[in-house]
């Protein structure tokens, strides 16, 4: 504290105050706010990380099983994949499929032939197998026309 900032004698003519001002109070306040902000930034950083591919893998993986049928309800040997996951599997001749190592969370399952596919939203839980039962694949006759 500089000489100019020193209290005058007038300020103490009634005696010393019961509680002396704490010169480090403002610094403590700033540090408190800093701590809160740091916690918020860490929380937001964590939320961003969990949205990333690496983050979703960290949350664990699950599996999915089901059976693909065509418009008539007959088994369909479709290609099956999850958007954002590299593996593509083929359903068995009876239409059944089982896919592992799918990142936990909201995912989109696609059943497809060589040119078109149908998307089904699924929720994968880490360490569990989701049985979605039958999923229908309807062949799109003409891409872009009249489906």
């Amino acid at each position: 504290m500089s000489f100019e900032e020193s209290p005058t004698l007038d300020e103490y003519k009634g005696g010393l105050p019961e509680k002396m001002p704490d010169p480090s109070a403002q610094k403590k306040r700033v540090r408190f706010i800093l701590g809160i902000l740091l916690a918020v930034v860490l929380f937001l950083g964590g939320a961003n990380f969990l949205q990333s591919e690496a983050g979703s893998l960290l949350m664990g993986t699950g599996a999915i099983r089901g059976k693909v049928v065509d418009a008539q309800g007959s088994p369909f040997q479709a290609d099956v994949f999850v958007i954002g996951v590299e593996q593509i599997i083929s359903a068995a001749p009876d239409g059944s499929f089982f896919m592992e190592r799918i990142p936990a969370g909201e995912q989109s399952l696609v059943v497809a032939n060589a040119t078109s596919g149908q998307e089904y939203p699924v929720k994968i839980t880490a360490g569990q197998t989701l049985d979605i039962g039958q999923v229908q694949f309807v062949v799109a006759v003409t891409p872009g026309a009249g489906q």
Binding site: V41, N48, S108, V110, Q118, E119, P143, G144, Q147
Partner: protein, 232 residues
Amino acid sequence: MKKNHGQGLAEYAILLALIAVGIALILQLYGISVYEAYCSVADRVSGGKACQPDEICGDDFSSDLSGWTTLEGKPGNTLNGAYCPSSYTRVINKCSTNGSLEDYTVSLNGANLTSGWGYGLMFRAENTPNGMNGYVFQYDPGYSPGSFIFRKWVNGRELSVPFAVAKAPNYSWYNAPRDIEVVVDGNTFTAYVDGKAVLTATDSTYTSGGSGIRTWDSTLVCFDEFEMQSNP
């Protein structure tokens, strides 16, 4: 004393930095780029002059199609400054695949459909070993009763159910040159025809990729110009 004073300044600097990082993280969580947020504020202050769009890629079709890669079918030809693709093709602009372009505005000017089921303007598209991933805006008189639609492609397959449809049964689809534009902004896509918004949709599957053109079935169409710009 001087040491204490300096320490306070450092703490204020950290405080400001944490606030800045926090705001950036919040924007990222909601799919908004920091640059766009800056531009939206700066444009209001400067009267729209802060963030002018830059041309990223373009083709006026005055020469051949060497700037394009064919993904499917035969590409067709350029003639008298117009590109007339074959009736079944997918081509992607090479320039648009350089780097990982995220947000942009892509346009097809003077698009004149004379017959067939329509054409599409691809965006955030990339060719992977499994096939094309990306989106397509379709000018689609064949999608009953005539519609503007957004489709998604995954591993070379076109998902049969569009993720957005605007039906336009009484629209004049043929023999009128149209200016098609798609604004790709975060997870929101807005399609314009002749400057009028016809369809808006959101999807978060793909965050970057190039642009291209597709036709199907018996489509006969010609385009005067392809252009990609940064968003204003």
